[in-house]
Amino acid sequence: MPESNETLVAPAPVVDNTPLGKKLNLSGKSVIDPITRIEGHLRIEMEVEGGVVKNAWASGGLFRGMELILEGREPGDACYVAQRICGVCPVSHCHASCFAGEGAYGIQIPNNARIIRNLLEGAQFLHSHILWFYNLTGLDYVNPINALKADIADTAALGLESIKNSTPLVKALMPDWNFADTQVADFAGVKNRLEAFAANGQLSIFSGNWFDSGAGDEYKLPPELDLIATTHYLEALQMQAKASQISGILGGKMPHVMASVPGGTTFYPTEQRLDDVLFRAIEIRDWVAGTLIPDTLAVAPFYMDDFGYGRGYGKTVAWGVFDAPSRKPEDRYLPAGIVDMNKLTCKMWDEKLITEDTTHAYYDDAAGTEANPRQGITAPAWPSDGYNVNNKYSWSKSPRYEGEPLEAGPLSRVLSAYLQGNAFFKKAVDAVLQYLGVPGRVDVLVSTMGRVAARNIECLYVANLMIDWINELCAALKGGDTEFFAEPETTTGEGAGMWEAPRGAIYHYEKIKNNKIQKYQIIIPTTWNVGPRDKNGTPGPIEQALIGVPVNDMNKPIQALRTVHSFDPCIACAVHITEPKTGKKFTTVTSPWGVR
């Protein structure tokens, strides 16, 4: 077993030859609509030239008008209704709404409620990150059908190997970690199960899969690693549910938590409630350390090319999340920061510098096309020319900071923490870069695969914090602190909640008079990422990240799909993908077993 200070070395990366798309000189329009394995409805349209994306348009396909629904209601209702924006990250919406309400009420929640809010938010981060890595984006890299060819003995050996491989990293971050505690999964059992599924012959969720994208070699894992990842796909479903049970316990139910309200929490934690949370938190932390991290390190070397595209602007936004006792955004466990990776700078945000641009979004230009959200007006209008990439083409607005598009998400938070000298992220990021054979090259993280790595490092960090917070809460309770809820000081005022959802910076603003909401505005993380072009024609971050992505298959552009997924878009939050107007008909769904 390697010592914790031993240098990590990645398995030799797979050498990629000239991309197929370049060889075939693929050119024309490529559309993915709907983008699946995300929250909501998203269309991506791309202009491809010589096997590379030259231009891209992201279109959010749904308008619900949450802000309009909230007007005239009460802050206590807003936190319940606003979280219905998103069933994946309701907790973050709830909390951003609570912070906005508390700002308007002129109060700060008691310390106990702060810790519980961190726990509840943390549980949702774990749920969301685990689900995203294995069950959503996982199928862009892992081919469960290929796992049928796996040799069981080799799989078990490889499983052990990758756990050992990751031990130095995990031990550097968790000194008490013992990889021997990790249980090796029943790979033979899962293979049997897959065989039964294959023999049954119905494709279920694998209907219309992209495993044959390009020349059929875009999925690069050996069968044994596919089997490991598939086994963990199944375990992940259980783990994300466990994390949601914590949200359920602290929030009443999940999705849509009901026990966190402006002022604090509705409940008073009893010993039994805390114990219910603690044992689940420990189980999840151990699984993240012993399974998710080793898998990340095992899969990444096969997709080294994916570190080379999907960069975007390299400018990121994080409002910060997980309040420290000071309640200052810069002191948060994941600290606030506006990062420019081109200059390696990180600065604190200023709410006044945010604007939303609706030049290319389905909103009425007469209501203005650019405003700070405090002044912004939501005036939806379907244009006479409908979806038109030269005019209006999305229900999503385009947020800008100092006039510039910024990327939001775990990468933003990790870069902010790293550049501000957070010890955990310094150690973890440096170790991963060394493992990948690119020591010191933090900029490598600003890529399709880099976002995957950043998200998973963050997952380990939050998994550890959960235990700390439970201990902190127990200590506070033992110290005799019995406050969980604060009454409003006033019922007229305004406030903004600037917080983070698992997929990025989230902003809720409300203005109330006599406890009734007069104005409500929301900027959701995915709006930052998926927004269309602005008045200057500057593409949104996902549009920009797609430029330069290789395309080896016009109908199944898997690299583009990976890139979109790397942002973990949550479109109900923001806004849907479409199919070409070329009149092109769907032809066949290729599958190993045919369609039944």
Partner: protein
């Protein structure tokens, strides 16, 4: 019909392979049985129904459409316990189209959906409201309007399950001013003259055990569950939250929570004064609970927001418009349906219908259990006299003065 015997070892092997113990699985079947009104004697039949598909290559095909949704109902399905969602989508059903779970994307999944529709015999689950705004352009997927997608998929389905309040009656999307023209699936299909039977499963999100129970009912008995006039399964939505609430004893004793995060909450007192809509909300939440039984709202001090209150027959019946403000006790007090509560009396005051309290409800003083009545009674009396004024403060002072 060919009978398919499940031998104990075969079932055990099947379950072991997916990390589910036989005990867990039978417990799950028990929950399903309870939800569809069968006794424990039916558990082997349920186990068999679930097992048939896994071996015979005839898993029921399912299309899961997301309309104006937050994906919370799909997420909720992913929280189902034993068997977990992987078992559900790989071995109990053939989930041929799901925007959240499908491995494919774009053209190829749309094709898979179209093939399934053409083959027929599928169950259509719809999550999210149908959006009629801007002639259906409020929601577009694959260059089609959401409305057209729903109509096309529903036409050939054996049954439509409207999962979650949004799909039942528009849910929060239809709350005033209903900016994007949200309607429920049943009302929408009726307007298009499509007669495919609809099962309504309101709540925000849907409870995953309910979906499984409806599907099992269909697989097992070849029919849909018994439905009430709102299209809801009677056995799930036949009783109020209040009827089965573990805090009910404290309600009877006049022991209430007046402040969030208080010791009274930890003692399990009744949440009525802080806005609980349990008395008027129909659902078996206290029994089935949420997140694999880990909890439910009221257990953790959150007043029931009445999210399963949905009215597919009447616009504006959505849970947000009916139940907000959520954290205030309503002037209009309903306990169950007053048809089944004959001691309830009604009165009209200043345009508000005040359904006053039942003998065992708020008339604790009548019942003599609390000599001066519950502490919010004075405020309630004030409310009744001043229907045009604001409700008393969100959290009551202990002395209840107004």
């Amino acid at each position: 019909m060919t009978t398919h015997e499940v031998t104990a070892p075969a079932l055990t092997n099947m379950l072991e392979a997916r990390g589910v113990t036989r005990r867990q699985f039978l417990k799950f079947c028990g929950v399903v049985a309870a939800s569809i009104g069968l006794t424990e004697a039916a558990i082997p039949d349920i186990a068999r129904a679930l097992e048939i598909g896994a071996t015979s290559g005839k898993l029921a095909p399912v299309i899961w459409l997301e309309q104006s949704s937050c994906t919370g109902c799909t997420e909720s399905l992913a929280q189902v316990g034993s068997p977990d969602v992987a078992t559900v989508v790989l071995e109990l059903l053939s989930l041929n189209y799901s925007e959240t779970l499908s491995a494919g994307a774009g053209h190829s999944v749309e094709q898979a959906k179209e093939d399934t529709i053409n083959a027929g015999g599928y169950i259509l689950l719809i999550e999210g409201a149908v959006m009629e705004g801007w002639d259906g352009n409020a929601l577009r997927i694959a260059e089609e309007k959401g409305t057209d997608i729903v109509a096309h998929a529903a036409q050939n389905a054996v049954a439509v399950v409207a999962t979650g309040s949004c799909a039942v009656d528009g849910g929060f999307c239809a709350a005033k001013p209903n900016p994007a023209g949200a309607v429920g699936v049943q009302a929408f299909l009726k307007s298009r003259g499509i007669n495919t039977p609809v099962v309504n499963l309101p709540a925000c999100p849907v409870n995953p055990e309910w979906i499984i129970s409806v599907v099992v009912d269909y697989l097992l008995l070849g029919k849909l569950p018994d439905l009430d006039k709102y299209g809801r399964p009677v056995l799930i939505f036949g009783q109020t939250i209040h009827d089965n609430c573990p805090r009910r004893g404290h309600f009877e004793n006049g022991e209430f929570v007046y402040r969030f995060g208080s010791e009274e909450e930890a003692k399990g007192y009744c949440l009525y004064p802080v806005g609980c809509k349990g008395p008027q909300t129909y659902s078996n939440c206290p029994i089935v609970r949420w997140n694999d039984g880990a909890s439910w709202c009221v257990e953790y001090g959150a007043p029931c927001a009445g999210c399963s209150c949905a009215n597919p027959l009447k616009a504006g019946g959505n849970w947000v418009d009916v139940n907000a403000p959520f954290q205030k006790r309503h002037r209009v007090v309903k306990i169950g349906s007053w048809i089944t509560q004959p001691s309830t009396i009604g009165a009209i005051v200043g345009g508000f219908m005040v359904v006053a309290l039942t003998a065992h409800g708020f008339g604790m003083k009548l019942a003599g259990r609390v000599p001066s009545g519950a502490e919010f009674e004075k405020a309630r009396a004030w409310d009744v006299k001043h229907p045009d004024k604001a409700l008393f403060p969100k959290t009551l002072k202990k002395d209840g003065d107004e």
